[in-house]
């Protein structure tokens, strides 16, 4: 493998070192358009005019060394705001500027613009304002109590991914499709004809706008080429100009044009609105392979050139942090990562092995670039070769968290279960964290996280949130009077349904608000069948429409229920009354009981049916409370099991729990066992996790910590590959590996209770790390620090 070129290395350094800042350019341009046109044109056209203004007026940036062009802001990591969605207060800006993590620097000029131009217009017009003023007190109480979060209160629905259509057709072609649909408008028999035509007009405006945006890059490139003294760079700039005159107006002809095509589309989507999970090229290896093959055969492209172009694309993704979040949205997703996903491998449309040469090229790029975004994953089918899996695992073993590994066959099964066609399921994949979706054809909107463990806490307090004393839930009875575990589960089931109902009532209003006030005509061009239906992405225009509510903390709630069942109802080592007293006092004065709950309870993650059966019961309760329910725009509700960083926030609003967890500590994440509860190694974790029926979810996240010593050599890779294949045979959706670092071991020294499962293994020798003497622990830390592959 050849090393990074000088260009890539410089670009990489630049993007890693760039300091995130706030740019007011977008906010100002959008505000001007709204001031000029609001009330004079239809809402979709208004949004399209704002998009057009942005494409025509925003600063054009072409950086030194760049081969792929287009920035959302005026410079790398200069990040716009979206006041029409969320109008930040001055206090918000102070927080965004000053916070230690995930900050964006905000200058005094930006603050003045916000105060004088943006806030007066948007304060009461923003989606956030509209949403919160529509929410009931009941919803607000639950939201503030941390029962659930709300994704669309400061970011736009998006959560979607491109398919291959942008490599077949340019925006002139899309415009023609739109015009044809417009021509078919039936103003006599179709009562929605006017709405449809306004939507289509808006889409048409957006086609022109993105073409103009590219032309402006061509103009800028020529201008720079004129001044350029280095003949080599001059040629590059001329080539960029030529490229930008061709795409995105027309379909790309070359590998380079194909990448540039995607990137213009990406910038369009993330400039139009602050869509969740930004936007993604999806099955990039599949899309690029025909261009790669053709050019390699023709001798117009080398593998190294192709790699450099991909690396330039990687830098582009990395230049674009997630737009600034505040409040609970920051808590649930506290990261710069905007979850742009690169899918590799999987199946192609006719169900054959989808791995090709570009797949391996992309894995090389991932390995060399080591950037947190884009977020690369592999889609592993049983039809894919082990060579593919093992190349990915070689990167995994280096311990920086990528690529994550998905079960392509299970994704197909999940999507078929949701009613997608086999072709749309095979060309699908995963995006965001782990969400399965039909690429280019589906709006699969995450609407918020749901705090299952908090519901148990409220059930144990007969409907009252012990943190605030507020009555939020149903009066399902004093649990001290429950005569059986089944009675408790029945009460829990009623409470889950109650809070899901509150969440969905809110969701319905929010969905209508987005459909009515904030269409996304540019994104709608890209997602089938918005053009054919004349309907916006945010109003149900996509071929498939799904709404997710993401369950958090299945490990914590399972272990808590298991503790109650085992200790209160079966062994009777304590009474419910005493247990509740212990929880109320955060185990102060009950440390022995707490230790006993931690150490003498069957826990999820150990392939123990006592605990795993409870997990299945909780899953079923959650599934039946959510799955299949309909939304106002015709979408169907589904569940998935993932946390981002929400398990930390959700833990912070819950008191002590029956699994021995102290008040405020994080919950378990994804479908992983509670930190430290799994003590029988990775095969037992996998067995427990696969007792959940992943086919009935839209994704479940499993994080597996691994000792680097177990990954050494070819055997380490082979066994890890076997582990993944076995998990996927058992129906697992996703697995990612965290290789245990010396830092983790140091943390384990400090907080042994959360690392009781941490096993130190050398061939033939093994022991729990936390049971070793300090001297031995120190020695192992030193050796881990020097482990290299």
């Amino acid at each position: 493998m050849s090393a990074m070129t000088g260009r890539v290395s410089r670009l990489r350094t630049q993007t890693v070192e760039a300091v995130p800042t706030i740019s007011m350019e977008r906010a100002q341009l959008v505000t001007q358009v709204y001031k000029q046109y609001e009330g004079k044109v239809s809402t979709p056209v208004l949004c399209a005019l704002a998009f057009k203004e942005l494409m025509e007026k925003k600063h054009i940036y072409i950086g030194e060394d760049e081969l792929i062009v287009g920035e959302r802001g005026p410079a790398p990591k200069a990040t716009p705001t979206y006041p029409e969605v969320c109008c930040h207060t001055l206090e918000d800006l102070e927080v965004i500027d000053g916070r230690e993590k995930v900050f964006f620097k905000v200058g005094p000029a930006e603050k003045a613009i916000q105060e004088n131009e943006i806030m007066p217009f948007w304060k009461e017009r923003s989606m956030r304002h509209k949403i919160f003023s529509q929410m009931t007190d009941e919803w607000k109480d639950c939201y503030e109590a941390g029962l659930f979060t709300e994704f669309m209160e400061q970011r736009a629905p998006g959560h979607t991914v491109a398919d291959g259509k942008i490599y077949q057709q340019g925006f002139l072609g899309f415009k023609q499709d739109i015009e044809e649909a417009l021509a078919k408008s039936d103003f006599i028999d179709d009562p929605e004809a006017l709405d449809k035509s306004e939507q289509l007009k808006a889409m048409s405006i957006c086609c022109d706008a993105i073409i103009r945006y590219a032309e402006r890059h061509a103009e800028k490139a020529l201008e720079l080429a004129d001044k350029e003294t280095n003949p080599e760079r001059k040629q590059e700039l001329l080539k960029i100009a030529e490229l930008c005159r061709h795409v995105p107006a027309h379909a790309p002809r070359t590998f380079h044009e194909a990448i540039q095509m995607y990137w213009f589309v990406h910038i369009g989507v993330i400039t139009e609105l602050n869509t969740w999970d930004s936007f993604s090229p999806g099955r990039l290896d599949q899309h690029l392979y025909p261009f790669y093959k053709k050019e390699i055969e023709a001798g117009t492209l080398t593998r190294d050139q192709a790699k450099e172009l991909l690396q330039c694309l990687w830098v582009k993704f990395h230049n674009h942090p997630a737009p600034p979040k505040v409040g609970i949205t920051l808590e649930e997703s506290g990261t710069y990562t905007d979850f742009a996903a690169i899918n590799t491998g999987g199946l192609n449309v006719d169900g054959q092995d989808g791995v090709n040469e570009v797949t391996y090229l992309i894995l090389d790029v991932v390995d060399e670039m080591r950037l947190v975004q884009p977020s690369a994953n592999i889609q592993l089918s049983q039809k894919n070769p082990d060579k593919f899996l093992k190349r990915a695992l070689e990167i995994v073993r280096k311990g920086w968290g990528q690529p994550s590994i998905f079960n392509a066959d299970m994704v197909v099964q999940e999507l078929l279960a949701q009613g997608k066609s086999i072709e749309d399921a095979r060309t699908a994949g995963t995006s965001g964290c782990v969400e399965a979706g039909s690429f280019g054809k589906e709006a699969y909107i995450l609407t918020g996280y749901f705090n299952l463990t908090k519901v148990l806490e409220i059930t144990l307090n007969n409907g009252i949130d012990p943190r605030t004393g507020k009555k939020l839930g149903l009066e399902t009875g004093n649990p001290a009077d429950f005569e059986s575990f089944e009675e408790l589960m029945e009460a829990f089931r009623k409470q889950v349904r109650h809070f899901i109902d509150i969440k969905i009532r809110g969701n319905h209003a929010i969905e209508k608000l987005w459909a009515r006030y904030m269409p996304a005509p540019f994104l709608s061009i890209l997602i089938s069948d918005c053009i054919a239906k004349g309907k916006d992405y945010n109003a149900g225009g996509a071929r498939y429409n799904t709404r997710y509510i993401q369950g958090v903390g299945i490990g914590s709630i399972t272990d808590s229920l298991s503790a109650i069942k085992y200790h209160v109802y079966e062994r009777k080592t304590t009474s419910m009354r005493e247990l509740l007293q212990a929880l109320r006092s955060n185990f102060q004065g009950y440390e022995l009981m707490r230790q006993s709950l931690i150490n003498h309870t069957p826990k999820y993650g150990n392939d123990d049916d006592f605990a795993d059966d409870i997990m299945k019961q909780v899953f079923d309760i959650y599934y039946t409370s959510v799955n299949g329910r309909k939304s106002p725009t015709g979408a169907t509700y589904r569940i998935n099991m993932l946390p981002t960083t929400c398990h930390v926030y959700f833990g912070s609003v819950i008191g002590a729990t029956p699994d021995g967890r102290l008040a405020g500590r994080p919950l378990s994440e994804g479908i992983s066992p509670v930190q430290g509860a799994d003590r029988n190694g990775p095969t037992a974790v996998i067995k427990s996790c696969s007792k959940m029926d992943h086919a009935r979810t839209g994704g479940a996240l499993l994080n597996q910590k691994f000792n680097p010593r177990l990954l050494e050599g070819q055997e380490g890779i082979d066994n890890l590959a076997h582990l993944v294949r076995a998990y996927f045979r058992l129906g697992g959706h996703h697995i990612q590996f965290n290789v245990i670092s010396a830092d983790t071991l140091r943390d384990a020294q400090k907080r042994p209770e959360e690392y009781r499962n941490l096993i130190v293994r050398v061939a033939g020798y093994s022991d729990y790390f936390c049971d070793l003497t300090k001297a031995l622990q120190d020695e192992i830390i030193a050796r881990t620090e020097h482990a290299s592959f």
């Binding site: 440390e591 022995l592 009981m593 707490r594 230790q595 006993s596 150490n599 003498h600 392939d607 029988n680 190694g681 990775p682 095969t683 037992a684 067995k687 177990l710 050494e712 055997e715 380490g716 082979d718 066994n719 076997h722 582990l723 294949r725 076995a726 045979r729 058992l730 130190v760 293994r761 050398v762 061939a763 033939g764 020798y765 093994s766 022991d767 936390c770 049971d771 070793l772 003497t773 031995l776 192992i780």
Partner: protein
Amino acid sequence: MKQGIIFNIQKYSVHDGPGIRTTVFLKGCPLRCKWCHNPEGLSCGPELVVFQTRCVGCGMCVRACPTGAVSLSRNTSVRISVTDRAKCTVCGRCAGVCPTQAREVAGTPTTPDWVMEQVLKDRIFYEQSGGGVTFSGGEPLMQPGFLLELLKRCKAEGLHTAVDTSGYVPWDSLEQTAPLTDLFLYDIKLMDSIRHLEYTGVSNQPILDNLERLSRAHNAVIARIPVIPGVNDDAGNIEATGQFLAGLGIMKASILPYHNIGSDKYARLGKRYALKHIERPSDEAIWRLKDRLEGFGLAVKIGG
């Protein structure tokens, strides 16, 4: 039904034979190797293991003990439980009540049914990886009837079986297990008989004799050579080992570099660790040793 006594079941075992395995540790060993990293496997009966670092000094074990063997220490700054092992009958009651699992009993009598239930939980991983079940110890052949029963059941389930043995066992038992064992992992520690006696407590003659017979009766034997600096890593011993193995046609060997992770276990059993001064061999030394063995035509792996 035959009962046996085991002290651990290790899942995702990847150093005791091919693929992903489960290793079942049978209790009891005729050897007393000074470097032993599984001292809880030496004696044949149950043993009390005390994790001092987990003890919170609550005294529940003191109240639970029927023989007055447990008391709270007054000599240390924090209260911890101490056990008079002379009075302890290893009844396990203290372990049952200890909230922090600071007390455990190593070695519980178990049935083959129970062991098989545990082993079969990971069948899919064995099938996926070409793995299986390894019986180790202790010396698994110290419980020949129990081992034989487990091997039979594993074979009936179609599982790959490995037996990790010291070789210091009656030939009969070894011979009986051979048809049910797909792979033997056979420890060769020291070629010099006197030094072998000094460091392991037994003569190596039966071990070498058994290996010779086994090499004729069975075609899948991997020699395992622990490398203990200053004990058996000298050129003479390594040469003699290589020559002996090659002479028997045993062409595969694993070298297991000494590590002191096991040293903490001694204190938990109320025992003293004899090899405190020994350091882990350097990587270079291990590579040299590997070269030397490979000089005899052996395929040598570092680690299990």
